[in-house]
């Protein structure tokens, strides 16, 4: 419990407190908090997050059903591909998205919602899907023979049963949309502002630290209450549903299920596949027709980066490996503490970095660590540390339930046999959670690969990661730069898909996130 708490205190709480203290030197800025424009931003932030969440859940359910309960060719591939958008940096997808959406006055808002669904569908599909897959199919058989029509079964059996998973997934999606940054900035334009983009605008562009700190406090408070509420709901809903365990309940679709499957897969192909395909198309569309020119250019020196672009791929993989290690240690130890129900506050603390503005944290880093012995600014270690802050919540979310599911009797049996607590943990818990750790590792790796908001603040220019390199390419005019950005994005996509597929293989019937 001490190590993760110390890690978060040092690399999250301390820098954030430092920048907030700097901004709020003159006391709480009630004028900013109470102003009409702040209330307007808060309202829009909450409103768009709610609509995005509803749309994501609604569109994610059919796919969650298909993946959870049906056996079809390419099922594991679809499972993995669904996750790819989730870890792609927004800069990459925004361009592809703008190209695909029809013109219109409401383009900004439609684009925001569509992109939020695109990015977060994986959360619903994986969380709800894994839960759904472990429910006893006899429940639906019983309901049908009791006279419940398909619609009644959905309303009276499926949805109430899925409630805990829906709540968990909904909370996460809401959190991501509430703190959405790149999507709002790139697709919304100046007319749409969320707390996160306003914080960025105030801090990085208007240099109004006071307003930025005030808005950060507001956002932290909102996210904190959201997490508290979610924990409450989870406690009320959780535990009511006995799961079928590791039995695989999938079977071939039949009758109308085939239609449903076709619809779900078509929806996924259009909603997820099309933007990704547009990206691939872009990376191949050289000025001289389709070819691998942009990919070949990745091996050559460019004026845009200090190194040849392929270095960024190597850097990304190395950083992500280190970040995965850090996230596994921090998240794993935190999960152990949380699973023993001794540290609910730690649970919230681990999640909180997801709700903190990356720019404020970045600024916090540069003012908090500006004097020896803490002057670590410019150290390459900051990159995996920052990425681990983002990945650790996912590790906790995956490992803690696995630890909880370990039967207490196993501990007692082992204790009776004379094993020390440390030994119990090593010889009993570890093998049991190894599989969950495997899944978490894949996830943490993929998230670290795609992390942009925090990385860009701490990555050294001579050690860029792939998302940072993509961002730099997109910042330059010319077809070659846009094409190399797309090519790098495709490389990132493939790396991510591979990591997720590998994690899935470890967890074939595990049904974790």
């Amino acid at each position: 419990m001490c190590l993760p708490a110390a890690f978060l205190a040092l690399f999250f709480a301390y820098p954030l407190a430092a920048i907030l203290a700097r901004g709020l030197g003159d006391g709480l800025p009630w004028d900013v908090l109470g102003s009409r424009s702040t209330l307007g931003v808060l309202w829009f932030t909450a409103w768009q997050a709610a609509v995005s969440t509803a749309a994501t859940v609604l569109l994610g359910l059919p796919l969650a059903w298909a993946i959870a309960r049906l056996d079809f060719p390419g099922r594991s591939l679809v499972r993995a591909l669904v996750l790819v958008p989730f870890v792609l940096p927004t800069v990459v997808v925004a361009a592809a998205f703008l190209a695909l959406l029809p013109d219109g006055a409401e383009r900004g808002l439609v684009a925001i919602l569509a992109a939020h669904v695109f990015f977060n569908l994986a959360v619903v599909v994986r969380i709800v899907g894994s839960f759904w897959g472990r429910l006893d199919s006899g429940l639906w058989d019983a309901a049908a023979t009791l006279g419940a029509s398909p619609v009644q079964r959905l309303r009276r059996v499926t949805l109430p049963l899925l409630a805990p998973a829906l709540a968990a997934a909904g909370t996460l999606v809401f959190l991501f949309c509430f703190t959405s940054f790149g999507v709002i900035l790139l697709l919304g334009g100046p007319t749409y502002a969320t707390l996160e983009t306003e914080i960025y605008r105030s801090a990085a562009r208007l240099f109004d630290l006071r307003a930025a700190a005030a808005l950060s406090l507001l956002q932290l408070a909102a996210v904190g209450s959201l997490l508290a509420l979610a924990a409450l709901v989870e406690r009320r809903l959780g535990g009511a549903v006995p799961l079928a365990g590791e039995r695989d309940v999938v079977r071939r679709p039949r009758g109308r299920e085939r239609l449903g499957l076709a619809a779900a897969l078509t929806g996924a192909a259009v909603g997820l596949g099309l933007p990704l395909a547009a990206l691939v198309e872009r990376s191949l569309a050289t000025p001289d027709g389709y070819g691998l020119g942009f990919y070949r250019a990745l091996g050559e020196e460019t004026a845009v980066l200090l190194v040849a672009p392929w270095h960024a791929v190597v850097n990304s993989v190395l950083y992500a490996l280190a970040a995965t290690a850090v996230a596994l240690v921090v998240g794993g130890l935190a999960a152990a503490a949380i699973a023993r129900r001794r540290a609910a506050w730690l649970d919230a603390l681990v999640m909180l970095p997801l709700g903190a503005s990356a720019v404020m944290l970045g600024f916090g880093f540069v003012i908090a660590f500006d004097e020896p012995p803490l002057d670590v600014r410019g150290s390459p270690w900051l990159v995996p540390v920052a990425q681990a802050l983002v990945a650790a919540p996912f590790v906790v979310r995956i490992v803690a339930p696995a630890l909880r599911s370990i039967d207490e009797r196993l501990h007692e049996a082992a204790a009776v046999l004379g094993a020390s607590p440390a030994r119990i943990r090593r010889e009993l818990d570890l093998p049991l959670v190894l599989r969950a750790l495997g899944v978490a590792a894949g996830f943490a790796f993929a998230i670290s690969l795609g992390e942009f908001g925090a990385t860009v603040f701490v990555a050294r220019s001579d050690w860029p990661t792939v998302p940072v390199a993509i961002f730099r390419f997109l910042g330059r005019p010319g077809a070659l730069n846009a094409g190399q950005a797309a090519a790098l994005a495709v490389v990132l996509m493939v790396l991510t898909a591979a990591a997720v597929l590998a994690a899935d293989r470890i967890a074939v019937r595990r049904g974790a996130l």
Binding site: P190, L321, G475
Partner: protein
């Protein structure tokens, strides 16, 4: 796997070690658009004996703000990237130490903006309205501010928000310089009537909304960008082009001078001064156009062929005195926001 992790550890330790024993290292803090070709970078290291580390900390605005945040305990030795429009903010926060480089004698004096030499000019790049030539194949392209407000160009212009973007601010200042304190607001009202699109940053305006950018799917044929954007389109086209796909409206250009200075509290002020001297020297100045798509400030520096052929260097770009900008910038941005966005 294990080998990779160990390799990373060694690299990290080596990196940290270099940090502590670094009297011979100069750190350049700059924005994301900074670029330099490798041979030039090596040349500096060879001639000065310092190693150069480059720290890019966000777009021009963010990088400056981050530097201001750490004024006194800076992250590096030299800051490059403050422009004439934001200069007053940097000087007000006492970010720099004065240094008068001997190389200044070869610099065109019109770019030297601070008499105390707290900042030194490194390059200039004019912000101009760019047009997509393909979109104006069958009709004349606009040639002045006034024409942009004509009904036939309705829904064609995309500009950056001056509150959040340096070219956006430059374009606002250009309209103020052109129409005067009394006229610019009604001009912007007319642009708003004419469905001008405002986005937050240059990246979105140029690479996503502007139809003339290579690889873009944008649908707006007129954009606020730089005088050097047409040659950039040629150089990064990925194939040989006979002419640039975009053009500049020369009468709309506003001067932007980028400046550098020695950071107050720098660990290696000696190295910082050497780096400033080098940045004003011929080698670096020759590299500036092709790397950063701006123009050198050193007199007699030759331009690369693509710039000679495709770049427009406006004879008399629009200008406002830095002091006037410093005094009025925040008020103008506020008024602009009321006129255009509210």
């Amino acid at each position: 796997m294990r080998a990779i992790v160990i390799g990373l550890l060694i690299a990290a330790v080596a990196g940290c070690g270099g940090e502590q024993a670094a009297p011979r290292q100069v750190v350049l803090v700059t924005h994301d658009s900074f670029a330099v070709s490798k041979p030039v970078l090596r040349a500096f290291e060879r001639t000065s004996g310092f190693t150069l580390r480059i720290l890019q900390t966000g777009d021009a605005g963010a990088a400056l703000n981050r530097a201001l945040l750490t004024a006194g305990t800076p992250e590096g030795d030299v800051f490059f990237g403050v422009d004439n429009n934001l200069l007053s903010r940097a000087l007000g926060e006492d970010l720099f130490e004065p240094y008068e480089s001997p190389a200044l004698d070869r610099i065109d004096p019109q770019y030297v903006l601070d008499d105390e030499h707290r900042v030194t000019p490194v390059d200039h790049g004019e912000v101009c309205v760019n047009v997509d030539r393909a979109a104006f194949a069958t009709e004349p392209a606009p040639t002045s501010f006034e024409q942009l407000a004509l009904p036939r160009h309705r829904g064609r212009l995309v500009v950056e928000n001056p509150a959040t973007s340096t070219p956006g601010l430059a374009f606002l200042l250009a309209t103020i310089a052109h129409f005067g304190e009394d006229g610019w607001q009604s001009y912007w009202r007319a642009l708003r009537e004419n469905d001008v699109l405002v986005v937050d940053g240059w990246e979105e305006a140029y690479t996503q909304r502007f139809s003339g950018a290579g690889g873009s799917n944008g649908d707006r044929p007129i954009v606020v960008s730089y005088a050097s954007s047409p040659p950039a389109e040629v150089i990064f086209a990925g194939k040989a082009l006979e002419e640039a796909p975009t053009a500049v409206i020369a009468s709309t250009c506003f001067r932007q001078v980028e400046l550098a200075g020695v950071l107050r509290g720098a660990r290696n002020p000696e190295g910082a001064r050497a780096l400033l001297d080098f940045m004003l020297g011929e080698r670096f100045q020759r590299d500036v156009p092709a790397s950063m798509f701006v123009f050198p400030v050193r007199e007699g520096t030759p331009l690369p062929p693509a710039f000679e052929r495709f770049a427009v260097v406006p004879e008399r770009p629009l200008e406002l005195p830095p002091a006037e900008i410093g005094e009025n910038r925040d008020r103008w941005i506020g008024e602009w926001t009321d006129v255009v966005l509210r």
